[in-house]
């Protein structure tokens, strides 16, 4: 009996190892092929951005530019004031990152670390507001801002950040709940105020969650298209996302310049990704947010 089981086991082990070798030999080529597929559009974007206009139309196409045309980048910057757009975008992003992280953490503190009547009922309201599609409130909010003459200013794109965002309030509240309450109690005995506990104990402990909120607020605003499209009409105030439309009117022969502009909008985000990879990936897994 004993020898039989051992025999079977040994056989299975060998089979397993062989199977793993076969899987590996199939898996690596598959992973490499799919990686190339995913990366190709980015490669093509950069490669095209460095070609001359006639080179884009040559048959068969060249994989890499014969001579890299770095001048396409200053060319794109001349064609549309991309640097100004970038500055506008960064300004809006900075205001939102500051406003959203500050207000959401304060509100989340109120919903998690303090006990007060009606707290849980109000928190259900936070969750409920997440269900309402933005299209429903978009029009009246626009009308409010147009009545106070805020259209064509940055205010509609920045000021609402001080009211927080339901999703990030939820996220931070969940995180704050995991911090032991004994810490707060000890601080109260030591005479700390709620604001003191919030700023000196909870915020430092919640750095990873705050980083997630800051990062995704930044990305959301960097990529936002509808907001600037509705509110900004003066090209001087354009952000990158709507400013890039200037390049749409170009014909195929000017694809290099378009790709240079697209590269310039993408590069900061890719650099940011590599700098904050951990926060990035954890944030997505934690929040279910898509990019």
């Amino acid at each position: 009996m004993g020898t039989v089981t051992m025999h079977v086991r040994g056989k299975r082990m060998i089979g397993k190892r062989a199977r793993r070798a076969i899987t590996l030999s199939m898996l690596y080529p598959l992973l490499v092929a799919l990686s190339l597929l995913f990366l190709f559009p980015l490669f093509w974007m950069v490669s095209t951005s460095l070609k001359t206009n006639p080179e884009v139309a040559t048959m068969p196409p060249t994989w890499l530019p014969a001579v890299p045309q770095w001048a396409n980048y200053p060319g794109a910057l001349n064609y549309a004031p991309l640097l100004k757009f970038a500055r506008n975008t960064l300004l809006i992003c900075a205001c939102n990152v500051l406003g959203v992280t500050l207000s959401c953490s304060l509100v989340a503190y109120g919903f998690s670390r303090l006990k007060w009547p009606g707290r849980d009922a109000l928190f259900i309201m936070v969750l409920a507001t997440m269900m309402i599609p933005g299209q429903v409130t978009m029009i009246p909010v626009y009308i409010i801002f147009s009545k106070i003459n805020w259209v064509n200013t940055f205010y509609p794109l920045t000021v609402p950040s001080i009211f927080g965002s339901a999703f990030f309030i939820f996220l931070l509240r969940q995180f704050f709940m995991t911090i032991p309450f004994e810490i707060s109690e000890a601080a109260i005995i030591d005479g700390a105020s709620e604001l003191g506990i919030y700023s000196r104990i909870i915020l430092p402990l919640a750095k990873p969650a705050l980083a997630t909120v800051a990062l995704f607020t930044f990305l959301g605003n960097w990529n936002d298209f509808l907001g600037p499209l509705i509110y900004l009409s003066d090209p001087e105030k354009y952000t990158l996302s709507i400013g890039l439309r200037f390049f749409q009117t170009l014909t195929y022969s000017e694809f290099p310049m378009q790709m240079a502009a697209a590269t310039m909008m993408t590069l900061p985000i890719i650099i940011l990704f590599f700098l904050t990879q951990r926060t990035f990936i954890q944030g997505i897994a934690m929040t279910g947010l898509k990019g």
Binding site: L24, Y28, L30, L31, L34, S35, F38, L39, P41, L42, W44, M45, A57, P60, P61, L106, V107, G110, W116, P117, R119, L122, M125, V126, T129, I132, P133, Q135, V136, T137, I139, P140, V141, Y142, I143, I144, S146, F163, A166, W222, N223, F225, L226, S241, L244, R245, F247, Q248, F255, M259, A262, M265, T266, I269, I270, F273, I284, A285, K290, G291
Partner: protein
């Protein structure tokens, strides 16, 4: 703590005690930023939007009450609404299942214990962080009928390439292909879910003689079903939010877009509100959208009880 409890207990008055009132004020102060926002930028707008949806309103002159006319027009009389709904549903119906399959398949590949996986994960994920505007411009170039690399490769293979975004039949397939490029977000969520599947369960199934496919079908799939469910709901909501990409594509090929095949619901709503300034009609469209999303979410929720497994539920 004991002192405060005694304090509260010592005042059996009808009103709220000083302590509760103070904690209430403190709590409200902390959540006041959100509370003000709720009133000014959510609750009031919801009411206003509902009101506008029963009016004819162009922003410049006061709204005029028209009753149910906007809803009647939208549901019965506007063929563009029907078209936008058809397009949006078609996209959702094809894209969501494809995206789940692709994301789950990628996640399974990336979950195998291999050297260099972190590099592959980065490569698979990278496209999904490219700003929508930039990626759309890049895909318009890739899909260019004449000089785009996709048609050049197809020609090399002896297949005549279609017009993609320029062609009424191919605009939607092209857009779906383009969207599939950005499945990285869903993939990361699946990857996290796969890593949460208890190893013991898989090992137990293996001891029982279950092959890889059976293990996936009977252990992994039920364990990650809540995540699939979550991703499908997010996908439905996402389909109704598709805007920047189709705005740019249709903008590149004339205002109407190729045969209007890329007229998505959000795009039509934008055109009615911020291009035609029919704010009343657009508000009605927004409420119809809200009802559709609610109904779809409810259907998915209801049906989920049958095939979504929640650990800890007996």
């Amino acid at each position: 703590m004991a002192a405060t409890a005694m304090h509260t207990a010592g005042r059996p008055r009808r009103g709220i005690s000083v302590h509760t009132r103070r904690s209430l004020i403190k709590g409200l102060l902390f959540v006041s930023p959100w509370l003000i926002g709720l009133l000014a930028l959510t609750l009031y707008p919801i009411g206003a939007s509902l009101y506008y949806s029963f009016t004819s309103y162009d922003v410049f002159t006061p709204p005029i009450w028209v009753g149910l006319e906007n809803y009647q027009t939208a549901i019965l009389g506007d063929e563009n609404v029907a078209l936008a709904l058809t397009n949006t549903f078609l996209y959702a119906l094809v894209f969501i299942p494809l995206a789940q399959l692709a994301a789950l398949f990628s996640a399974l590949l990336l979950n195998v214990d291999l050297k260099g996986q972190s590099v592959f994960r980065t490569f698979f994920y990278l496209p999904s962080i490219v700003p929508a505007v930039a990626s759309t411009i890049v895909w318009i170039w890739l899909f260019n009928p004449q000089y785009g690399i996709i048609n050049i490769v197809l020609k090399f293979l002896g297949i005549p390439g279609p017009g993609w975004f320029v062609s009424p039949q191919w605009a939607m397939p092209a857009y779906i292909l383009m969207s599939l490029w950005g499945i990285g977000g869903g993939m990361v969520i699946y990857l996290a879910a796969l890593q949460d599947v208890p190893k013991e369960l898989k090992e137990a199934a293996e001891l029982d003689g279950a092959g890889a496919w059976r293990r996936f079908l009977n252990v992994t799939l039920p364990m990650i079903s809540p995540v699939i469910f979550f991703n499908v709901i997010m996908g439905i909501i996402g389909a109704f939010q598709v805007f920047a990409q189709v705005f740019i594509i249709t903008g590149s090929y004339g205002a109407a877009g190729p045969g209007n095949r890329l007229l998505f619901y959000s795009l039509y709503l934008y055109r009615q509100s911020f291009q035609s300034f029919k704010m009343g009609y657009a508000s009605a469209l927004a409420w119809i959208l809200f009802v559709i999303i609610m109904v779809l979410t409810l259907i998915v929720f209801r049906s989920s009880a049958r095939y979504v497994y929640y650990a800890g539920e007996k």
